[in-house]
Symmetry: C2
Subunit: 337 residues, 2 copies
C-alpha cells in the first residue's frame, strides 16, 4: 500500500480498543458516584467524530446526552452542565485552544472531565480528571476516535442495561484492526482509481446519513478542504433533496456513503436519483467490505469506521497524484488566529 505502515496502523487501532476496559471502568465509576448526564465536546474534526456515539446514545439510551461545540459552550453556558455531568473532550494533539478553554470551563462547573488524546504531556492530557492516551499521528485519528467514543456509549448503555450482548460486541471490535487492514489492502486499487479520477476535480458534494453523515462532514472539511484545498459540500442525504440537488448536472462530482445501519434507505434514495444525472457519482458502500466474524449489528455501528479506513487510502493517492502533501497548510499553525 502506498505510503502506509501496517504495523503503525495496527498499533494505533489496537491502542484505541485497548482503552475500552479503562473507559468502561471510568464510566461505570462515574455513574456509581451519581453523574447524571454526559457532554461530548470537541472542536472541528474531533467533535465530528463523536457524532455517531452521540446519535446512538440520544436515540437508544435514556441517559441525557449533549453534543456541543467547545467554542460556543464557553460563551453560552448550558443549563445541564454541572457537578452531575461527565464531559468527554477528544483532541489528538492535546493542544486545541478551544478545547482547553472548554476543559477549564467544565471543571469550573464541577463536571468530571475525561480527555481522549494522542499525547499525554499536553494541556488536555494533564488537566483532565482522567486522560485516555492513544499515541497517534494526525492521519490515523478517525477510526481511533470513532472507536473510543463508541466504547463510551456502549459502556453507558451496558451499565444501564439498555443493550444486550455488549461483551460480544466488544469482542468483535477487537478483531477490527486486522480486518480493516485487510480491507484497506483490497481497496487499494480502487482507491488509486478514485484518486486518479478526482485529481483535477475542484468540487465534490459528499453525502451520508445516520452514522455515515459525520464521516461525510469530516472527510469534506478535514481532509479534502483542509489537507487538499479542494472545495466540498458535505450534505446530509435527506437535506440533499431540499436544496443541494439543484446543483447537480453531468459535471458535478458526488461522493455517496452507504452504511449498513437503519438509515441506509436515505443513501439509496440519493443513489437512485443522481445515477442518471451525473457522470461522476462515486459510491462507497460498507456492504462491499468483507469483515469475517463481524455481525450485522456491529457492522451498522462501525459503518463510519469502515469508510474512514477506506478513505485514508484515497487520500494517500490523492496527495501524490495532486502533488499536494496532506500536511501542507496555508494558515493552520502558520498564521495566528
Amino acid at each position: 500500500m502506498l505510503n502506509f505502515d501496517p504495523q503503525r496502523y495496527l498499533r494505533i487501532q489496537s491502542g484505541a480498543l485497548a482503552l475500552t476496559s479503562q473507559l468502561r471502568d471510568a464510566i461505570a465509576a462515574s455513574l456509581t458516584e451519581g453523574r447524571r448526564n454526559i457532554f461530548f465536546l470537541g472542536t472541528g474534526g474531533a467533535a465530528i467524530l463523536m457524532m455517531p456515539a452521540v446519535q446512538l446514545l440520544q436515540r437508544r439510551s435514556g441517559f441525557p446526552t449533549f453534543l456541543e461545540s467547545s467554542a460556543e459552550l464557553v460563551l453560552t453556558g448550558h443549563q445541564a452542565l454541572g457537578p452531575q455531568s461527565i464531559v468527554i473532550i477528544p483532541s489528538l494533539s492535546g493542544t486545541t485552544r478551544e478545547s482547553i478553554a472548554a476543559l477549564e470551563y467544565c471543571k469550573g462547573k464541577g463536571a468530571k472531565v475525561f480527555t481522549l488524546v494522542g499525547h499525554a504531556e499536553t494541556p488536555l492530557g494533564t488537566a483532565a480528571d482522567q486522560t485516555f492516551v492513544n499515541f497517534a499521528e494526525d492521519d490515523t485519528s478517525c477510526e481511533s476516535f470513532y472507536l473510543q467514543s463508541l466504547a463510551i456509549a456502549l459502556a453507558i448503555m451496558d451499565a444501564r442495561q439498555e443493550i444486550a450482548g455488549c461483551a460480544a460486541i466488544v469482542d468483535q471490535l477487537g478483531r477490527l484492526p486486522q480486518l480493516l487492514l485487510e480491507a484497506k489492502r483490497r481497496f487499494e486499487p480502487l482507491a488509486e482509481q478514485i484518486a486518479e479520477r478526482w485529481k483535477d476535480e475542484a468540487y465534490h458534494i459528499i453525502i451520508g446519513a445516520g452514522p455515515t453523515w459525520p464521516e461525510a462532514f469530516y472527510y469534506g472539511m478535514c481532509i479534502l478542504e483542509e489537507m487538499q484545498w479542494i472545495r466540498t459540500r458535505p450534505v446530509h442525504a435527506s437535506d440533499f433533496f431540499h436544496g443541494t440537488l439543484e446543483l447537480v448536472d453531468k459535471t458535478v462530482s458526488i461522493l455517496l456513503f452507504k452504511g449498513e445501519d437503519e438509515t441506509r434507505p436515505l443513501a439509496e434514495r440519493v443513489e437512485a436519483f443522481v445515477a442518471g444525472l451525473t457522470d461522476k457519482l462515486q459510491v462507497l458502500d460498507t456492504a462491499d467490505v468483507n469483515l469475517p466474524g463481524i455481525s450485522p449489528q456491529v457492522r451498522a455501528l462501525i459503518s463510519p469506521v469502515i469508510l474512514a479506513a477506506l478513505l485514508e487510502r484515497v487520500s494517500a493517492h490523492l496527495e501524490v497524484k495532486r502533488n499536494h502533501p496532506l500536511v501542507t497548510r496555508r494558515y493552520y499553525r502558520r498564521v495566528a488566529y
Copy 2:
C-alpha cells in the same frame, strides 16, 4: 423595494406573531396534561429554521428537547418519543413527504403533534392534533417559522419559570413586522450592491455562529443552492478554523453573519482572520439594524430573523441581475424522487 409587497409582508409576519397566544395555550395545556419532552422535526429548510429555538431550549431550559430529521427518525426511532412527547412539525406547503411520514410515525407512538403550516387543507394541516396556520408563500417563510418556534420555546420556559419578563418579550416581538419592513427599506441599496457584486460568483462560503449559524445553513442551501443554483459552503464560525479556512484566498467570496447573542465573538474571530485574506468578504451585522424599542435581550433572540429579512432583499436583486427566477427548479416537483 424591488418585487416586494409590503402589505403582504406585514400580513405574514403579523400572522405568525398572532399565533403566539394559541401556541402558548397549546404548550401550557400539553405541560398540564403531563407531556415531558419536545421534538422539533422537520425536513430541509423548515427543520433548519427550528434550530435557534431548539438551541435556546437545550441550553436554557431543563425541558428535554430534541431536534431530529424527519427522514431519519422514522427509520431509527427514538427512545424518548412516546405519549409523553410534544412534536412540532413545520412545513409551509403542508405536503412535505418526509414530514407526513414523521407525523404518522409520531402519532403512532402516541405523541401529541402540532404542525405549523401555510395551508390548512393539506395532509400536515389536517392530520395533526392541532394545526397552526399562517398563510404564506415560499419566499417569506423564514421569519415566520423562526418567530413561531421562538414563541413555542418562550412558552415552555415561561410555564416552567425559566425566563423572566416573557410578556414584555412577546410585546416587543409584536413590533417587529413594521420594524423589519423599515429595515428592509433602508437595506435596499446595499442589497442591490451585494447582488451586483455577487451576480457572477460561482461559490460562497457562508458563516454564522449560535442562532445565526442556522441562517447561514439555510441561506446557502435553500436560497443560493436551491433557488439560484450557486454553490455554497455553509460552515459554522468555529468549524471554519478547522478545515474550511484553508480554501480562502483573494478570490473566494465569504458571507459572514454577525448576530448580537453571546456567540458574536466567534464571528468576530472569523472577520479578523479573513479581512486581509480575501477581497470578497461581505459582513452582515444585525447591530447595524436600527430597531427602536427592541431590547438587547430580544435582539439577541431575533438575530436570525433580522438577517433573514435583509437577505430576502439580496435574493430579490439576485434573481433579476442573474436572470434566474427564484422559483425555477431543475428537479424539485419536476422529477419524481
